[in-house]
Symmetry: C2
Subunit: 210 residues, 2 copies
DNA sequence: TTCGCTTTTAACAAAATTGTTAGTCTTATT
DNA sequence: AATAAGACTAACAATTTTGTTAAAAGCGAA
């Protein structure tokens, strides 16, 4: 059973990997099952053997990716015993690093998931409760700090949107952002490091008391 | 000639309008020339008669949209005799309003244009010089204000990326951003108004001296 | 009206694309 | 070795999709 399973998993995961690449690069409509099969090194009948249809294969990829979103949100929450400013800095940096390590993910989500209402519903059901919990905790902590005069009483929800916007957009629009502006800062990785620092600064500035 | 031209333009523009809608909604690969023709109320042979190929029709739509980008950038520059803070506020708001009036444009650009290297080159050629001029002027003005102690010496390029990120991302990811967070602020339009104010505040905060 | 030009239509052709199926090969188990 | 189960292949089928073409219709000018 183990070796048989290995064999199965081998081609199955090869198809999955090729499918992920193809769907990320070309989207659902642009992806070709034949290309996926070729990239995976199998006949395209195998793709149907393992996944029945292009649609089911796509769903499989999507659901895997959607789960990553909740994970990164939770992992960015960080240690509860760090001071607020440090926790936020860490959260921003972890989020930035996650996007940096998955540079095509945002575009894929926005393109392929957000245009399918039933997927959006599924995502919101999965994400909303955890987002709200994270945000309620953060808001409470901000309010406590503010009560002691240690920071401004900023809106946690708005802050989260700020962070995600600042971190994600430059990756999504990378070719223009870097091409038209970023290249003035050196190579692309250098530019990214600079952006990361800048985003931390921008957000913490909103919290800082004058 | 006038009436003939009118007749010609009529179906031609109807095809163009239907094509824009279809390409915006489904992307190049997902768009169907038959759907476009049907939506325009003509046989699909007419589409080929006027535009030869799906590709040429697409190019026509894209080039029109690319030109809008330079326009909005310039229009956001604003009156040179306003004080810096007011000019920046105005620029942010104009940019936000433009995106708000063209909510599908960012996704279209990111999806359909940025995945085509030759289009990216064309865009950068068109945009880079004007962006650089705008940025150089802005940077100079910031530096002057900073020299007088009226604001911080912030990096104009980073500021522009901040503005575009904050303004554009919530529209691109609208279904999640509003679904998971924004709905706490009321209806969608209310949320947007709130975001607009928030973005202005975030940016001006970076300039303000403590 | 007739001529010539553009616009429009209907039918067709070619290619691409997803999916199926019948049968073969491999491999673990008995 | 025989068998059974799953993995695999090659060929085929059905549909979709882009694009063409020959002929008809519309229309202004001579």
């Amino acid at each position: 059973m183990d070796k048989a399973q290995n064999h199965l998993q081998d081609t199955e995961t090869r198809i999955l990997q090729a499918a992920e690449k193809e769907f990320f690069e070309k989207g659902y409509a642009g992806a070709r099952t034949a290309s996926i099969a070729e990239a995976a090194g199998v006949t395209h009948a195998m793709l149907h053997y393992y996944f029945r249809t292009k649609d089911k294969l796509f769903e499989r990829i999507v659901s895997g990716k959607i789960n990553m979103l909740a994970d990164i949100l939770l992992s960015a929450v960080g240690d509860a015993n760090l001071p607020l400013e440090e926790r936020i800095r860490q959260g921003i940096e972890r989020h930035f690093d996650f996007i940096s390590a998955n540079r095509d993910l945002p575009r894929f989500i926005v393109n392929e998931v957000l245009s399918r209402p039933e997927q959006v519903d599924a995502m919101n059901r999965n994400v909303q409760s955890i987002v709200n919990e994270v945000l309620d905790n953060l808001q409470q902590e901000i309010d406590e700090y503010a009560a002691k005069g240690l920071c401004r009483r900023v809106d946690a929800r708005m802050l989260l949107i700020d962070i995600v916007s600042l971190n994600v957009f430059p990756f999504m629009a990378a070719p223009i952002v870097y091409g038209a502006i970023g290249s003035a800062y050196g190579d692309y990785e250098e530019f990214l490091a600079r952006r990361k620092r800048e985003n931390v600064k921008t957000i913490l500035e909103k919290l800082k008391i004058n």
